[in-house]
Subunit: 218 residues, 2 copies
């Protein structure tokens, strides 16, 4: 019974996500679902990305939060359009929530739409939203065992942004060890070592965004 309900819910979600994806593709918008643990630095990465790219790209962000509008405020201060979804306690975004707010995004003038999911390494992995790509952020203080402990999340994303590499010395950790653990769980995954604080490594991320956008518009 539990399994059946879950399957029905997921199938309904997938149908809705396909409709969202079609709408985004038609508008030429490159949509990315950003997922991570709480505190890994999703919002800081987006702030810097907006700051560095907004002179040449139109970026919008749908910000999911269990409570508060803090992240959406930070995104707007960074200079991008932000649309807030307050899930009122729910632990992940779903395709229906995204459909409900897509009307509020200026899709005609949007190149990249980031969907900042709830900070949670488990539940969001199971719900597609209509995104073209899934990206997850892992921060160095979380430890190298996260890929093996949360494999569904690591298997479903094409990119891992390994954030807070500026703390590597203080933590006495090696970026290579993270990359090895990620590769063991998902050999296809592209790991990009970055520091949203110092800007180190962000160029590779920006090139990946540009390539994804180019593919979307071919």
């Amino acid at each position: 019974m539990k399994v059946k309900l879950s399957k029905d819910v997921l199938e309904a979600n997938e149908a809705m996500a396909e409709a969202n994806a079609a709408r985004l593709q038609e508008a030429g918008v490159f949509a990315i679902d950003m997922m991570s643990s709480p505190g890994s630095g999703k919002t800081t990465i987006l702030e810097r990305t907006i700051d560095d790219l907004s002179d040449r790209l139109q970026i919008a962000v749908i910000v999911g939060d269990v409570s508060t509008t803090r992240d959406a405020e930070r995104i707007e201060e960074a200079g991008a359009e932000a649309v807030q979804i307050n899930t009122g306690g729910a632990c992940h975004l779903d395709a229906n929530m995204i459909r409900d707010v897509l009307d509020d995004v200026n899709l005609a003038d949007c190149d990249i739409l980031f969907i900042e999911n709830i900070g949670n390494l488990v539940c969001p992995a199971g719900y597609v939203l209509g995104e073209a790509e899934r990206v997850m952020v892992l921060s160095t203080p979380e430890g190298t065992d996260k890929p093996a402990k949360y494999p569904a999340m690591f298997r479903t994303c094409s990119v891992a942004l390994l954030n807070k590499i500026d703390l590597s010395d203080a933590l006495d950790v090696d970026v290579e060890d993270f990359a090895d653990e990620i590769e063991r769980v998902n050999p296809e995954m592209q790991t990009m070592a970055v520091s949203a604080l110092t800007g180190e490594g962000m160029e590779e991320w920006y090139s990946w965004l540009q390539a994804g956008m180019d593919r979307m518009r071919q």
Copy 2:
């Protein structure tokens, strides 16, 4: 319909948790549900606690994990009894899972039972397990905005272990700022600043554990 199901599930969970709690109380076991984000240091805190207290207390740990048995292995290496629950993808423990493994714990020879929940700041808050106390771990790299962003978790726990204070300088953060943000969300919450790595601040935690155990046995 969705709300009704959810309410039924939670009520069934609460009834099961009460039965677990009665069983634990009868055995004189002080049971603690430990919750946090992934990578905040729950297992490292438990390793040090076991190392420091196992000469005078019998400690057992029920370890919840979505995948892998790494944490249970670490707990056993530290010298405590460990019972693993692999949730196979589920994002929280529930009272039924705890009931299923309580037979595997040597309750007659147990003073403190830690239940290490899935790394997740959202879902575990909604499910009581039969614990006497709920404790959450927040680590300094996660940032000071977590209490406001995940209020349900902070309101349901009596203690916040603020871990990784050894990184305060590298992160340029102030322990007081975390305590202030926690107090704003839950004025009753007791914040203990600790480093499971260096051992700083752990004595206050051990005193709290001893006092809880004494209450349980009065």
